[in-house]
């Protein structure tokens, strides 16, 4: 409790200081050229999954709008949602959206805005493998259940006859913090495997992973651990794995095809499934249909309140997100995310204007 309080206090202190210095700094700058503009400060926190994209949006947007200062703390979907419910941020971000129970806790109302989408890949580090690892649906469930302990297990060999599989222990790398990536990945596993759903850990943002699992903090923590550990395999957002230079497994999708994750794989999946988007814009894709769909894809949402006390703040926030949904989408492929299908972007924009 005390720690929490301390955390909140220091948190507020840091941001007040940042805010004040932001204000005073710009005042100093602008007092000389006669006009005095007020800088609006917007603060958001949440998912690490889309963080690189959001940070790029902020940089780009602030280049053209100097009267606005946006900060985004990538602290994980769970913590971000918590801050959002408590009203400590102007906007939140989560890869698992928010469930009805959480939405009911927010008296100002919640509007979910899908802002981007990306794939979750199984990144691995097996030295001198001599090719790409193929994993069937049963195989990767068993690996994360801890049922297969060594890489040279006959079940893996059977599906990858050409690879030099070493006799290393399999070490799964998973998230320690409350995470939307964990939620989306475990939701996928629960959907494709009865064993995972009923005897395994099930679906959640924070799970007790069986077997030899190592815990890491955030998408970056997990990719770092994979990078340093031989025989490791873990789930991370595609862009993180790509930037860390990790190998990614080729996974079997619902149609039984093996799909390699690449820059355009989430786009492909979204194109196959966007017609299913419901009115509240909360669409999960636990096991997407379509022959070409990469199997583990998730939208990532921005969490907004339906009411803001400060109208200028709301306008600025809307302006930023509108820009993100239109202009910002073109930065998505750079980081391995999918630009939203135009229909989804349109309904997201409509929802944004309705606030």
């Amino acid at each position: 409790m005390l720690l929490n309080r301390l955390f909140v206090i220091s948190f507020l202190a840091i941001h007040t200081v940042a805010f004040l210095s932001g204000c005073s700094g710009s005042k100093d700058d602008e007092q000389q050229p006669t006009t005095k503009k007020q800088v609006i400060h917007l603060h958001g926190a949440g998912a690490t999954f889309p963080a690189p994209l959001y940070k790029r949006w902020i940089t780009e947007y602030q280049k053209i709008h100097q009267d606005i200062q946006i900060t985004y703390d990538a602290i994980g979907s769970g913590a971000g949602t918590k801050l959002f419910i408590a009203g400590n941020v102007d906007f939140g971000a989560s890869d698992s959206a928010m469930n009805d129970e959480q939405i009911a806790k927010v008296s100002r109302g919640v509007q979910l805005i899908p802002a981007t989408a990306g794939s979750i890949v199984l990144a691995y580090n097996i030295p001198d493998l001599g090719g790409k690892l193929h994993l069937s649906r049963k195989l990767y469930v068993d690996i994360f259940l801890g049922k297969i302990r060594f890489w040279d297990d006959p079940r893996i060999k059977k599906e990858n006859p050409d690879l030099h599989l070493p006799s290393l222990s399999i070490v799964t790398v998973v998230r320690s913090d409350s995470s939307g990536t964990t939620w989306a990945f475990s939701n996928h596993l629960s959907t494709i495997s009865k064993k995972w759903r009923e005897q395994g850990p099930g679906t959640g943002k924070e799970l007790d992973f069986p077997g030899n699992a190592m815990f890491g903090n955030g998408n970056s923590g997990v990719s770092t651990k994979i990078k340093h550990s031989w025989g490791s395999i873990g789930y991370v957002e595609y862009g993180f794995a790509k930037r860390a230079g990790l190998d990614m497994a080729i996974l079997e999708n619902k149609a039984g095809n093996f799909i390699e994750p690449n820059d355009s794989s989430p786009t492909e999946t979204l194109a196959n499934t966007h017609a299913q988007m419901p009115a509240n814009l909360r669409l999960f894709l636990p096991d997407p249909d379509g022959d070409t769909s990469y199997p583990v894809v998730t939208y990532s949402w921005l969490l907004l309140y339906k009411q803001y006390d400060d109208m200028t703040k709301l306008e600025k926030l809307q302006g930023f997100i509108r820009w993100g949904l239109l202009e910002g989408q073109k930065f998505a492929p750079e980081f391995g995310y999918a630009p939203l299908p135009s229909e989804v972007a349109k309904s997201a924009l409509n929802a944004l204007e309705a606030i």
């Binding site: 929490n4 602290i75 222990s169 409350s178 850990p201 924070e206 007790d208 815990f215 025989g231 490791s232």
Partner: protein, 325 residues
């Protein structure tokens, strides 16, 4: 008070000394009050920390009871928490550390106190070893990840491949794990063990050594059969303090031990310790989880306090009995 007395005596001898001015007295008293206050504050602080952590942990202690100490799952979803793997990992890593760091530390202490080297080199070596204590643990952690692990991985994996039937080698070393963690920890406790063992060895009166040599022992016999047993209490105290340090070390372990919630005898499998668990889970813990982590903190606090008190007791006891001789 005694200072003012001696000042008065000096006044009789010559004109240089003057009685303490009211300013001197004031300074004296303030200084004394402050030092007393600070000394007691330390005690109060420890009491307060225990009280605050215990207080926060109390609801969790009531709810979970002893089951928390013997449970093996950590599942915030289902609300099931247990720290047996962490307690096991804490003791396992510390014992390994003690085995490695302890034997090296004692060997260094013997080497540096028994005139094997010229005095100057001895001093250089001694201060170099003490410098090890000045390296921040995060640096140890990074060194472990980038230097040590790639260095020992081939050896460890060879051991696993050839002697895999022994439970200690039953998994391959992937990267972070128990063995690299214990290895780095043993370097970290080396200064503690070496310094205290050196003190214990140099506190042995020369006549004991002379007597041993006088009876015709070789140097080897004198060190092993006379000097080490004589200094054993002090050395043991140093080992216990090193053990205490290993139990509580956080940063290097959080980076190297692998944060894996499992009970394994294997030296090469990733594991977890109480301190690493706290470091990893605190930043994003909910109120409820905070209570549970506080319970784990109480357990860790209790273990380290107990070990350190035992260590201090042994050292003070050995110093007293050493003085009698």
């Amino acid at each position: 008070m005694s200072a003012s007395l001696s000042n008065q005596q000096q006044q009789n001898d010559g004109p240089i000394a003057v009685p303490p001015s009211s300013k001197d007295i004031f300074l004296d008293r303030t200084f004394r009050t402050f030092t007393t206050c600070f000394a007691w504050l330390t005690l109060l602080l420890i009491g307060y920390i225990v009280w605050e952590i215990g207080g926060t942990a109390l609801p969790a202690i009531k709810e979970m009871g002893v089951g928390f100490l013997t449970g093996t799952t950590w599942d915030p979803n289902k609300g099931e928490f247990g720290i047996l793997p962490q307690i096991w990992g804490t003791f396992y890593s510390s014992l390994l550390t003690l085995l490695l760091g302890g034997s090296f530390g004692i060997a260094i202490a013997v080497f540096l106190t028994q005139d094997f080297l010229p005095n100057k080199i001895q001093i250089v070596l001694k201060s170099t070893i003490e410098l090890l204590a000045a390296i921040p643990s995060v640096v140890y952690g990074l060194w472990g990840i980038f230097v040590l692990i790639p260095l020992i991985r081939p050896v460890a994996n060879w051991l696993h491949a050839t002697l895999g039937w022994i439970p200690f080698f039953s998994t391959s070393l992937s990267g972070p794990g128990m063995f690299p963690a214990a290895l780095v920890l043993s370097i970290m406790i080396l200064p503690t063990v070496a310094a205290i063992s050196q003190d214990a060895l140099s506190a042995i009166p020369d006549k004991i050594k002379e007597a041993a040599y006088g009876m015709g022992t070789t140097r080897w016999e004198a060190i092993l059969k006379v000097l080490l047993p004589t200094a054993s209490r002090g050395i043991f105290g140093g080992l216990v303090l090193g053990f205490g340090r290993a139990l509580g070390e956080t940063m290097a372990l959080a980076m190297l031990v692998g944060n894996s919630n499992q009970l394994s005898l294997s030296l090469f499998s990733p594991a977890d310790t109480l301190a690493a668990l706290l470091a990893l889970n605190f930043p994003e813990a909910s109120d409820y989880e905070t209570q549970i982590l506080m319970y784990a903190a109480v357990v860790l606090l209790f273990i380290t306090l107990a070990v350190n008190i035992i260590g201090e007791l042994i050292i003070s006891y050995s110093e007293r009995s050493g003085g009698k001789k």
